[in-house]
């Protein structure tokens, strides 16, 4: 298994666990109509930090166990795989961002109806977390496409 594929497996696994937990928490807060922007901000920062702290050593250990360079230069097949994955990931991100823009009216209505104390703040929290979610989702899909392509060539 190439180092790039190992990194993709690590990124997918850790992202699904850590950011899955974060967004599940955001959804639970939303369902309970108790969105706390400050708490979510720090929770996200903690998740992001933990993800980075786990991913880097995991990639280093994977490289060491496989006797590979930690960040080897990509060859032409790997660059092709990256290009295809990036194209899919970017297209998905663009579509999802447009979907968020189109859904903004609906989100504002929810904030006005269910978060009467601070509808503006609730709108901002929901929109920011939706943008974070689609960014993370597109990144995970991109890494999954990387893995699929490596498996096809293996």
């Amino acid at each position: 298994m190439s180092m790039r594929e190992k990194v993709a497996w690590i990124a997918v696994t850790i992202s699904l666990v850590i950011f899955g937990w974060y967004f599940w928490g955001v959804w639970a807060d939303f369902a309970a109509r108790e969105l706390d922007g400050d708490a979510l901000f720090w929770r996200f920062l903690w998740c992001f930090g933990i993800a980075v702290i786990i991913m880097l050593p995991a990639a280093m250990i994977a490289a060491r166990l496989g006797g590979q360079a930690f960040d080897p230069p990509a060859d032409e097949m790997e660059m092709r795989i990256e290009a295809i994955s990036n194209r899919f990931g970017l297209a998905l991100l663009e579509v999802l961002l447009v979907a968020i823009v189109l859904a903004s009216k609906w989100i504002t209505d929810i904030a006005r109806a269910d978060f009467t104390i601070d509808p503006v703040g609730a709108t901002a929290i929901m929109l920011i977390n939706l943008i974070l979610f689609v960014s993370a989702f597109a990144a995970v899909v991109r890494e999954i496409i990387v893995i699929i392509q490596y498996r096809r060539y293996a």
């Binding site: 298994m1 060859d75 032409e76 097949m77 790997e78 096809r152 060539y153 293996a154």
Partner: protein, 77 residues
């Protein structure tokens, strides 16, 4: 699975003829990963022209001795 390119190659035999050269040794010689060499050898990935020339250069043969176009494999429209 993607349709394999209409190209065959003799990399496995050439490696054998060159002292059982490993895929990793060939990969190191042409600046690629072993996985890419394996994909080329199994005809799952078509290398660039430059990479094809580099492979031929390692074995000291013409590019046609490494890669062969399967004549008639793809009909003209």
């Amino acid at each position: 699975m993607p349709t394999p390119p209409p190209i065959s190659n003799t990399i496995r035999r050439l490696r054998f003829d060159h002292g059982e050269m490993t895929q990793q040794q060939l990969a190191d010689a042409i600046g690629m990963t072993r996985q890419t060499v394996a994909a080329i050898e199994q005809n799952k990935y078509s290398p660039s022209l430059e990479a094809a020339f580099r492979i031929a250069e390692v074995f000291g043969v013409e590019i046609g001795a490494v890669f062969q176009w399967k004549a008639g494999a793809k009909k003209d429209p």
